[in-house]
């Protein structure tokens, strides 16, 4: 069986049922492909065993890049390339450079992090998502299980596990 083609899909109505449900399903040795929700569910990352996002590190690195660019630019332009006395201060006096440095730090940090987020999440305007259930943006939580990755467990057993875990519906979804 090809991976990423045939799925069994559990529909959950309530986020607290979902959270206990995930634990039950995973407790049965089932590998969950992904859970789709209309809103962020508190604690779902722990339940699914996801590692904390490393985007903060990206934000920090982009921010530091912004700081360095801003300071280098200002000190070089006003301190070395074309030194000028302004307001009786030194050529490259630090305090007046702080505001621009701060702004560029924030700008690069924000844009860099959001760009990284789009790339790692594979989000682009021309991409149509693969929807397991159209209601996943409305009011249902959708748990997708890749059959190819859970071949040791029978399909009907999987359905029963989902039902026991609190799913209100169990469907099958096949992508060509």
């Amino acid at each position: 069986m090809d991976a990423d083609k045939n799925f069994i899909v559990g529909v959950f109505d309530d986020e607290e049922v979902l959270l206990t449900g995930i634990e039950k399903v995973r407790g049965n040795g089932v590998k969950i492909h992904e859970v789709y929700s209309p809103f962020p569910v508190h604690g779902i990352d722990d339940a699914l065993g996801y590692k904390r996002s490393r985007l903060p590190i990206a934000a920090f690195l982009f921010g530091m890049t912004g700081t360095s660019i801003a300071l280098t630019m200002q000190i070089w332009m006003l301190g070395y390339d074309w030194p000028m006395i302004i307001g009786g201060k030194n050529f490259a006096s630090l305090p007046p450079f702080i505001p621009v440095t701060f702004e560029l730090t924030v700008l690069l940090s924000a844009l860099g992090m959001v760009g990284t987020f789009f790339i790692v999440s594979d989000m682009k305007p021309y991409k149509w998502p693969r929807q397991f259930d159209i209601r996943s943006t409305d009011d249902k939580h959708i748990m997708a299980i890749d059959l190819a990755k859970n071949q040791s467990i029978d399909k009907t057993v999987l359905g029963k596990i989902l039902k026991d875990a609190g799913a209100s519906e169990v469907n099958e979804k096949n992508f060509e």
Binding site: P40, L78, P99, D139
Partner: protein
């Protein structure tokens, strides 16, 4: 598990379910707009058209068309600039600072407030741009590019240049923050369009949503992004009005050079921004029937923020007056004496009445929970905040160190026309937003339906 103490008021009324949220908010995007909307649009667009004529005249003939003179070199333009920037502070404040403080009530109002922020910043930016006179050379004067005669760079010691960086960064980051928030909601509209069989709308909103799917991993990253953007935006909001205040405070002009300006400007900005949010939302909730999401309790909480920031501003006014006396500097002393009793005293006392006295009415619970009173006072506050900037700018300039050059400022129709231009721009943009974008953050509201709606609170109290 989220637990809300039983002494908290519900944030969503009417026993709404998660499904209701999608429906109540998406339907305005899907349905044809009401006649009232067309009427409002028509007024805004005609205001914009008249304003554009005034802008064109100023660009064509030069800024001599304004009422500025040698003594009062900054007047309505910078007053309006600071006023709009100030208004543009509430959105990011609500989405960033209140997010960090976990104020759940922000969820119903942050979307519209952020949209307001973005449009207000565009309006604000138009004034210094037009004041450049030759707008088409603006990039060359404001960005770090070498000049034509060698590598003479822009002056990084100038607060006006800091403004360029601050306003553009603030605009960009606010736009990104707002857009990130919109992504999951665009996906809601897309999926509803699929169900309704409207393929064009589905395609457009899918592109807008960047193909959003809502997987747990993406949500996790998404929340991380939102939190860091909030962390970045919080000092950013403070920095923007701080830097605007430094346009004045770095100078040696009495009445401008005072160290309290940065935090005091920020407090004033939040104050006027919240007032503008209230003005807009009181209308929006009524027109779009969103009373269950933007409740009286939301309005009350916003009014409390107005009391707090209004009082901070009041303390700052008194501090300024006190230190002007305490310092013993005669120029400083005169600047304030002139404010209080000079030819522009009417502006000063209008400011005091609107900004310091009128918000104190909100101490009365009846007033702060009254829609009509709130609506009126929110406009009064913004009139007051306009006068504040007018007082700071014009009153400090019009009587400078040389008494022979003392004069008054008289606006021309082009000063007024450009102010109207920004109103036209602002409301046109806001009405377009209200029609085509979901005005309430659905994903966030859905996440608190269970813990903070009226129904569950009754369940909990049995």
């Amino acid at each position: 598990m989220q637990v809300s103490s039983s002494i908290r008021d519900p944030l969503i009324t009417g026993g709404k379910t998660v499904k209701d949220v999608s429906h109540d908010i998406s339907r305005h995007v899907e349905n044809k707009p009401a006649n009232l909307w067309y009427l409002a649009m028509a007024i805004s667009v005609s205001l914009l058209a008249y304003g554009l004529y005034c802008v064109w005249m100023v660009l064509w003939n030069g800024i001599g068309m304004w009422g500025l003179n040698k003594t009062v070199g900054w007047a309505w333009d910078i007053t309006n600039f600071v006023w709009w920037v100030g208004i543009g502070h509430a959105g990011t404040l609500i989405s960033a600072i209140l997010l960090l403080f976990r104020q759940k009530w922000r969820m119903s109002i942050n979307r519209a407030a952020e949209a307001m922020t973005i449009f207000a910043v565009i309006c604000a930016a138009s004034f210094p741009l037009i004041h450049m006179g030759r707008l088409w050379l603006g990039f060359y004067w404001a960005l770090p590019l070498p000049n034509a005669f060698g590598s003479l760079w822009v002056n990084f010691n100038s607060p006006l240049l800091w403004d360029v960086f601050a306003i553009s960064t603030y605009f960009t980051v606010s736009l990104v923050f707002w857009y990130i928030g919109l992504i999951p909601d665009f996906a809601v509209i897309r999926d509803r369009a699929v169900v309704q069989g409207n393929n064009l709308r589905a395609a457009i909103y899918n592109a807008l949503s960047f193909g959003w799917q809502g997987g747990a991993k993406t949500w996790m990253r998404y929340e991380s992004v939102a939190l860091i953007l909030a962390g970045l935006s919080t000092p950013l909001v403070l920095s923007v009005h701080t830097i605007v205040s430094m346009d004045f405070a770095t100078s040696v002009i009495p009445g401008w050079h005072t160290t309290i300006f940065p935090p005091y400007f920020v407090a004033g900005a939040i104050f006027s921004g919240f007032a503008m949010v209230l003005t807009l939302l009181i209308v929006t909730r009524r027109v779009f029937k969103l009373e269950d999401y933007i409740t009286i309790y939301h309005i009350e909480l916003m009014n409390i923020i107005i009391i707090v920031t209004g009082s901070i501003v009041g303390i700052a006014y008194i501090t300024e007056l006190f230190i002007a006396w305490y310092s013993g500097v005669e120029y400083e002393g005169y600047a304030f004496y002139n404010r209080v009793s000079g030819p522009y005293a009417w502006a000063y006392w209008s400011m005091m009445t609107c900004n310091v006295i009128s918000p104190q009415l909100f101490w009365v619970k009846k007033i702060r929970t009254s829609i009509v009173a709130t609506f009126v006072l929110s406009i009064v506050v913004n009139i007051g905040m306009w006068f504040e900037r007018f007082v700071i700018i014009v009153t400090s300039l019009h009587r400078d160190y040389v008494p022979s050059s003392w004069t008054m400022f008289h606006p021309t129709m082009y000063d007024i026309g450009e102010y109207l231009f920004t109103f036209g721009l602002f409301f046109t943009a806001f009405f377009l937003f209200a029609k085509f974008f979901p005005v309430i953050n659905m994903a966030e509201v859905k996440s608190i339906v269970k813990s903070s709606s009226e129904k569950t609170n009754q369940d909990a109290s049995h």
